[in-house]
Symmetry: C2
Subunit: 224 residues, 2 copies
């Protein structure tokens, strides 16, 4: 688990800082917590926090990465639990929600940094490529052997599309102020039905022209 040549003690300090930070974030909120608080909570000097984390948001990113790592099993279960694509995707997304439930508001901090594509923490940037591709892989697995057959031309795009869809839902969930985020759940159900329905009918011969246009959209996104 130790990444570079750092000692076990350092690794422990790193974790202590993160854990303390998360507690403070949860108790008072991200903005209300100062980096001096974070350092004090971990019993180190202010500068130490910056030795281990590049920025305040980087703490959130570390939290994100940690939970992501811890959820492999839950992801696998979500996929193993059913052959229905709808249920699988729903499962994957619900795992994400469950993980972040305690820190729902915290992710806005990541988003704020993330909308700027120059920011290293952007979900579309180079630095997050690995997590992103890993996550997309889960959607590939969800599709594989599921109850919907995907037109050949779409197959290479669908996992990434579902990942984008999931990102959109997570954003909706974060800003959802309805009680218990019911609205997000409603949207999740309704959109999943629509998506699966679209996939189902997309193979019909009648849908040829539509398929062609949809593919054109997908290709337009590719770099040239």
């Amino acid at each position: 688990m130790t990444e570079r040549g750092q000692t076990a003690k350092a690794e422990e300090t790193r974790n202590r800082i993160l854990d303390g930070a998360l507690r403070l974030f949860r108790e008072r909120g991200f903005e209300q917590t100062t980096m001096r608080d974070v350092a004090a909570e971990a019993g180190v000097a202010t500068g130490a926090a910056y030795y281990y984390y590049r920025s305040k948001q980087d703490l959130v990113m570390a939290f994100y990465l940690r939970t992501d790592e811890q959820s492999r099993e839950a992801f696998a279960n979500a996929i193993a639990s059913s052959k229905e694509l709808k249920k699988r995707v729903r499962g994957l997304i619900e795992v994400k929600f469950a993980q972040f439930a305690e820190h729902r508001g915290l992710l806005t901090a990541l988003l704020k940094a993330g909308v700027d594509p120059r920011d290293p923490l952007s979900p579309f940037g180079e630095e997050t490529r690995q997590v992103r591709e890993d996550n997309i892989e889960w959607y590939a697995r969800a599709i594989e052997g599921s109850d919907v057959s995907v037109p050949k031309e779409f197959a290479p795009h669908l996992p990434r599309l579902l990942w984008m869809y999931h990102m959109g839902l997570v954003y909706h969930w974060i800003i959802d102020t309805s009680p218990e985020q019911r609205r997000t759940m409603r949207v999740l159900d309704a959109t999943l039905e629509l998506i699966v329905q679209l996939l189902r009918i997309s193979s019909l011969p009648l849908m040829g022209p539509l398929r062609k246009r949809a593919l054109k959209v997908l290709r337009a996104f590719e770099d040239d």
Copy 2:
């Protein structure tokens, strides 16, 4: 034009601050420009900038609102120029792009604040309701009397949907690093074709179930 009981001189100072700020933002970028710079450029003390603008991002918002006001005519022209929905929507979006061309990067500052729904500058918040509804109105006008007929159930939703679509494109345009934002233009063309095609076939009887599911999605977004 003067909004409250302020003098013409104050109004002029307000504009001088904004104009100077925009020049600095354009020349050095948003982050590289300090509020002290902005104030100095306008020949006032630092605090004065905060008398007229709530925050640094508020300057960008003022710029946004200003260009939005100035573009009514261009919007009207875009709609008058054709009966084709595709061309009209394209026209509306191109007006936006043209307005912001000089300050493309600047809008990321607004987005950063905007992803947080608690922020007053959020495009989905209460404070921006007026501009938002005004903008949505333009899409309503674009649909009215155009070459596509919209199923009755969708009619009340479509303007807002197109506005959301336009927001997505603007975001894509902002972060688009391809030369001259060609990729955005490709995506714009391809998605517009798809949208219009979808609208065209949505009236077919065969599409009944799909229409129903799409409507369910729209309703899921509504508050209960």
